[in-house]
């Protein structure tokens, strides 16, 4: 019995907690991708670098606040800086839309042209972020590191295995839940949100009903800025901020959005967690976990790891391929054309 609890503690510590936090970050990222897809109808390759930009803006404000001696006590100061980061990202995205994307919208250009344009935007944003903050790791997390440290957990429960609950992980999950709740309330209950959904479902009908497309697009960019910045900051708090990793997040984020069904917000969230849990489970070495559950004679020699962590991208990719082969519309019927 105690072995089972120990095994569960190991599992919770190394698989469930990290996957929950990572899944929330992916879900927020995928929500942004899926919203742009639903309203503007193209896959935004610049999303990873938008997240990097938002995180960078937040980090700069965080440093300024820290220099002034302003902190949030046990919470990271970055949360206080987050609104400023979102504001900066909003300005950037609205300016990009005005200067770059609007022209193609008016031309009714093919979606793939917009994808290529977004690639150019990605280049520029990536260059901007590197230009301003550099390519190195930036640590900006402060406040309490653990809600419950591994030692406290062991003393509390008497188990041999500790379950450390990182405060950043908890903050990630809580903030993600709040943001998602607010987003769904907005999309389902407010007039503007309803007009956005109408625009996504049927553009012509929405236009006939007197919905102003430019307003819908502007609001979409603002929401996307908020989502991307929050996702970027949470990822940076939980792990570390490095511009290149944000570019690499593009693959799991798109995988999440496609697995859930492009254009479907619920799907994006589900997809985020599917990708995160598979990635963490498949790259986790189950040796300690199995050690508690199996009789001693059976104890494995190897790490009992299905894939090394270097191949975590292969997991998102494999899931993506499976979904494309068997259910191209994703789990929650997204758009197909």
């Amino acid at each position: 019995m105690i072995d089972l609890l120990n095994a569960l503690a190991v599992l919770a510590n190394f698989v469930i907690m990290p996957a929950l936090a990572y899944g929330s970050q992916l879900a927020l990222g995928a929500l942004g991708v899926t919203l742009i897809y639903g309203i503007l109808r193209f896959s935004n390759f610049a999303h990873g670098d938008t997240m990097a930009f938002g995180a960078m803006a937040t980090i700069l404000v965080t440093w300024a606040l820290q220099a002034q001696g302003v902190t949030l006590g046990p919470l990271p100061t970055a949360l206080l800086a987050l609104p400023f980061g979102i504001f900066a990202t909003c300005l950037l995205l609205l300016a990009t839309d005005r200067l770059v994307y609007r022209f193609y919208r008016e031309q009714k250009a093919a979606p793939v042209i917009l994808v290529i344009v977004s690639m150019g935007v990605m280049f520029v944003m990536n260059g901007l972020v590197r230009f301003i903050i550099g390519v190195d790791d930036q640590n900006f997390a402060d406040g309490a590191r653990f809600l419950i440290s591994a030692r406290e957990f062991r003393e509390l429960t008497g188990l041999r295995e500790g379950l450390a609950i990182k405060s950043t992980a908890v903050i990630t999950v809580v903030v993600a839940v709040l943001v998602v709740a607010a987003l769904f309330w907005f999309l389902n209950k407010t007039r503007t949100g309803k007009s956005m959904r109408a625009f996504s479902d049927n553009e012509d009908l929405a236009l006939l009903s007197g919905i102003n497309p430019e307003r819908v697009v502007a609001i979409t960019w603002i929401i996307v800025a908020a989502l991307a910045t929050t996702a970027g900051v949470l990822y940076g708090l939980d792990k570390t901020f490095k511009p290149f990793t944000y570019f690499q997040l593009l693959l799991p984020i798109f995988a999440a959005a496609i697995v859930g069904g492009l254009g479907s917000p619920i799907g994006a969230i589900a997809g985020g967690f599917v990708i995160a849990f598979s990635e963490v489970t498949i790259t986790y070495a189950f040796k300690r976990f199995a050690g508690y559950l199996l009789p001693e004679a059976w104890e494995p020699d190897g790490l009992v790891q299905l894939l090394s962590t270097d191949y975590k991208f292969a997991v998102s990719f494999a899931i993506l391929i499976i979904v494309l082969l068997f259910r191209p519309t994703g789990l929650f019927q997204g758009k197909t054309a």
Partner: protein, 434 residues
């Protein structure tokens, strides 16, 4: 379909830029730019086949280029006999077992009736196959990597002339393209983009981590060359006499001779490819591809197999990228997986195609040379520009320090701006499709 005076003038301008570099800086630099320009032009031709002929969006150029490089190592490096003895056959057996599992799963899926039994058998087959694969693979890899890890620790290659590696690299890339195309083509256009983005990351991850294959991040260096070595030329009295007779320094002359030899080789391949792609574009096949690109529904109604043609051109284009990758690894004389960056190898090639003129092979070649030239030169330009901007600031001022440090990142910004501006104001590129 032929070149117009304006296009020829554009080519002259770009080569003039490179020649000017030769006069102003050094001929070594200019020839270096020219050689990489040739390789970039071939990459751009490959992407142009996919995008320009067929409208396929491939964001995994880097992966296919890297596979070409892997092909060069596998073919040209001398075999490591001890490693083969330690576990070579076992690794091959493991790979066959893994492949057999996948093929078996596909056959099972096709042959059996839909239902619970099929699903259960499929999962059982995959799980058993995976463990058999790992049981064969892991000890063999460990044995191979233990053979003199500082110098080899990998299987080595076949020890064949490096030129043979070029078509082999193309074939490797074509194989990967077949796998991707088979799954992602025929669906939404964005799906292909995401799938290629993924396969490129995975190819690089495999090349970084599978040390038994090509030493991973320990890099393979000293690939055999198709051209003479500088040191041999310098020790060759006939060569030294001749160049000193012409009034050159033997050391500089030897490196320039080697670079010129590469240029000739690459130029020959580029000319051959250009001829092939032009003939293909002007053949009924090329017209069909463009008809499919411009209106898939109509082409399908005329009885064209749209997905099949897409798969074909996707594989061909990727093979050309693989060829360019093998050539590049040959030119570098080494394979360094960590140097494959998506921004450098995927997106830069896209900028070349778009700027040069998508759908036009000459445009792609021109774009390859021009953008490669800019990519190399933007950095010194950027340094100069930043130096000019910061000239008025006092030394030690934080903004000045920061700007000087960041000048290196000007490249991405510039390339992105060029791409956006060209797409906005001249979407058909410098040499448009005709």
């Amino acid at each position: 379909m032929t070149l117009q005076p304006r296009d020829i003038a554009l080519f002259f301008i770009v080569f003039g830029l490179i020649v000017a570099t030769g006069f102003l800086q050094s001929w070594n630099v200019a020839l270096g730019i020219f050689n990489m320009g040739l390789i970039s032009a071939i990459m751009a031709l490959g992407v142009n086949m996919q995008w320009g002929y067929a409208g396929l969006f491939n964001v995994g150029v880097m992966g296919f280029v890297a596979l070409g490089g892997l092909g060069a190592v596998i073919v040209a490096m001398p075999p490591v006999n001890d490693a083969w003895a330690a576990g070579g056959l076992r690794v091959i057996a493991a790979l066959i077992a893994g492949l057999g599992t996948i093929v078996g799963a596909v056959v099972l899926w096709r042959r059996m009736e839909r239902g619970l039994r099929r699903t259960a058998l499929l999962i059982a087959l995959l799980v058993v196959g995976f463990f058999v694969f790992r049981a064969l693979f892991d000890p063999a890899v460990e044995a191979i990597e233990r053979v003199n890890p500082a110098a080899t620790g990998y299987l080595g290659g076949l020890g064949l002339p490096v030129i043979i590696a070029w078509p082999v690299g193309a074939a490797l890339a074509a194989g990967a393209a077949w796998v991707v195309g088979k799954t992602a083509l025929g669906l939404r256009s964005d799906y292909l983009a995401i799938a290629t983005l993924g396969i490129a990351e995975i190819i690089i991850a495999v090349m970084k981590n599978e040390d038994w294959l090509a030493r991973g991040v320990k890099n393979v260096i000293g690939l055999p060359r198709p051209v003479p070595y500088e040191i041999d030329l310098q020790n060759d009295p006939g060569f030294v006499d001749r160049v000193t007779g012409w009034g050159f320094d033997p050391v500089t002359a030897s490196s320039i001779t080697v670079k010129l030899a590469y240029s000739g080789l690459f130029l020959g391949f580029l000319a051959l490819l250009l001829w092939l792609t032009q003939s293909a574009l002007n053949s009924p096949w090329g017209r069909m591809m463009r008809a499919i690109r411009d209106n898939e529904v109509a082409a399908e109604a005329m009885g064209k197999d749209v997905t099949g043609r897409h798969l074909q051109v996707f594989i061909l284009g990727s093979a050309v990228c693989g060829l360019a990758g093998a050539m590049m690894t040959t030119l570098d004389g080494q394979l360094t997986p960590a140097s494959y960056q998506p921004l450098r190898f995927t997106f830069l090639v896209w900028v070349m195609v778009i700027v040069g003129g998508s759908g036009n092979n000459f445009g792609a070649v021109l774009g390859g040379f021009l953008i490669w030239y800019l990519w190399v030169m933007v950095e010194p330009f950027g340094q100069t520009l930043i130096g000019f901007i910061t000239a008025g600031m006092t030394d030690g001022f934080w903004l000045k320090e920061h700007l000087l440090d960041s000048a290196a990142h000007m490249r991405l910004l510039t390339m992105g701006l060029i791409l956006i501006l060209v797409l906005r104001f001249s979407p058909r590129g410098l040499i448009p499709e005709r």
